[in-house]
Amino acid sequence: MKNSTISRRNLLKLATAAAASSLGPFPTKADEASIVIGGLPEDANLDPGVITATDWAGLLRNIYQPLVYGGANGDVLPGLATAWKQLDPVTWEFTTRDNVQFHNGEKFGPEDVEFTIKRIVEGNLPLRYILSSVETATASGPNSVQIKLRAPAPLILKILNRIPIVQRASTKTSLVRQTNGTGPYKLEKWSPGDQLVLQYAPNYWGPKPSVKRVIYRSIPDANSLVAAFQANEVDLAVGLQPDAASKLSGSSALDIKAVDTDRTIFINIDNTAKPFDDARVRKALNLSLDRDALVRDILLGNGSPIANPCGPHYLGYNKSLKPQFDPTKAKELLKEAGLPNGFEFTLNAPSGRYMKDKEIAEAIVGQWSRVGINAKLVLMEFGTLMTGYRNHKLSPAYLIGVSQPDLDGAQFLTTVFNSAGSYFKDPELVAAIVEALKMADVSERRATIEKLNAEVFEKDAYVYLYLQKAIFGLSKKIKWTPSSNEEIDLASIELAS
């Protein structure tokens, strides 16, 4: 009778306190030899055969390793394979590395490679789109494995870079929440949605990394990430936005590093829609854009204007092509094409997917309006854009960003001009791209792709924009140089002092 209501309240408080104190012992601050990485988008599955999302796949590459690695200049480096040779147009043989153990102690051998490839190709795992040119793999000796292709695939070594090798006894469920790889790190513990902790695997065959323990914190909100970084809760902040980065770069306690990525941002156009069938109109679209201003004022320098579809690291990048800005000429061309007062159309763009995509789209619309091109901007969430992409709903123009992990210019051109989202119809161009894809000789391939890049530039087959940069924030605790593939190679991070 006395304090019934008050004790009810207290009861609730007590219950909460009890629950709170019973929470697991997850550290929010790292100790000396560990670092905290914040802002990496999280996924729910650690199976490398399932994960295609770049960021998460990059995390898994610290745990699992491929047969061969793709180097920065297009060269191929040994991974779990020490040597390789092509036996015939559709068969390659790889020599597997000795004295390698999986984290659970099992010895690595060619059967693991066979199992990995078969599991993807025959088991219908998401990675099978990458291995579409592979038929099967067979262990052919105590330390050799043969990979058989469906058809000659000049890029097979680059493709294998993306296939992490798993242990032969793995099942569909055994790799979801645990790991078992050959890489320098293994899973310590994971609280989904909150933190994932990796630790150095003592039986790793390669050089010992400087950082022994890495805590990945999932921080979906950009402001919260910046706040966490400023409060020294995070040593490596991933995916910072330009304005935050420029503010933080003034601080002496933090390091901001921006690196060119392999992702280009551009606008795809539909030349079956008037007036985009007129090459002069398309050229006007390109000439009226001041890309330097876009990069300088909106991205705050975190981009590079570019006149190729693909970036400089790709095979076939054409150095001689330079972005053009000439609004006067643009107006003349429009007049010539019979549109002295410009014209109207809809520009579709994603919002929240790429760095400052919304502001960039708005700025582009603003720049176009100065020459009379009145684009109505329709912004949409990325999922809606991708659905419209396949259903051809994004005509006549849409903004998109593309990066192609194999760093091959012909693959890139395929994505832009010969895939479900290609609205620019040009059968000869497509035929030439298909031809280039098949070429096995590197210099011939390179020269052909360079010519194709020049061709799409001259034809203004798309509106070229810029190459995106990725911005990382580093605390004074670590030293690291980001690479253009936007992955974080933990072994390359050094502890300062």
Binding site: D243, A293, I298, E362, L377, M380
Partner: protein, 282 residues
Amino acid sequence: MKSWTFASRFQLPSLTPVLATLGLCIVAIVAVLAPALAPFNPNLQDISQRLLPPLAPGHLLGTDQLGRDILSRLIYGSRISLTVGFVSVALGSSIGTLLGLCAGYFGGLVDDIIRWLMNVFLAFPFILLVITVVAGFGSSAVQLVVILGLVSWTDYAKVLRAEVLSVRERDFVTAARSTGATNRVLMFRHILPNAISPLIVLGSFDAARLIIVAAALDFLGLGVPANIPSWGSMLSDGRAYMQVAWWLATIPGIAIMLIVICLNVLGDWLRDRTDPRSRAVE
């Protein structure tokens, strides 16, 4: 019995509701006269003038990340916010009133079905329902208003139904029925007018809630992706600049807050006046 309550209430200076109504009227006028009042075109970009703080020459409230004048965007943005608030309330209240009336009046199976529908909508976590629909059907200003109206009808239906139930057996209704009035006449001409006051109260609170929900949608990137500025999208865009240019997010934030406060105060006052003992769930 309650002599002291009424007397003391009317001795309270009722300045606050007056201020609130005044505030809402001002916003309404600003929204209507936006083209005349705004110093700049809200979409006019001038990158050389980006991120100017308030009280910069020519830009009373500063400029945003693309150099657009914030005052002008605020003025034009009032249109979206008011439209969202009032049109979605109009839609939601119309649907809710109709369904609530039918449920209370006809009873039986009709009532069961309508109550079932209400419970289904109520059980859906509100914001998730809106997000699911918006993510699915995309968003334009019109669609957003329709969606918000569609998911908020339940409160009106509940209130209406309760009112109808309590009024249904009253004398004047029986009298009207005995003169041979049709159902429709009874519902709309006799019962509904008596149920209006809690509706208005509810509408006021609902408008406040929906304006916040619309802003929250913008935060999540699912709101109006406008060529026309909205306070919610200004707030959402300005988030990224909170530490660099606080005014981008703070100014629309204050605007939203003020209009919501005005609506809530008005709703409170209306409720106090029309039904001092009602404890309608907001």
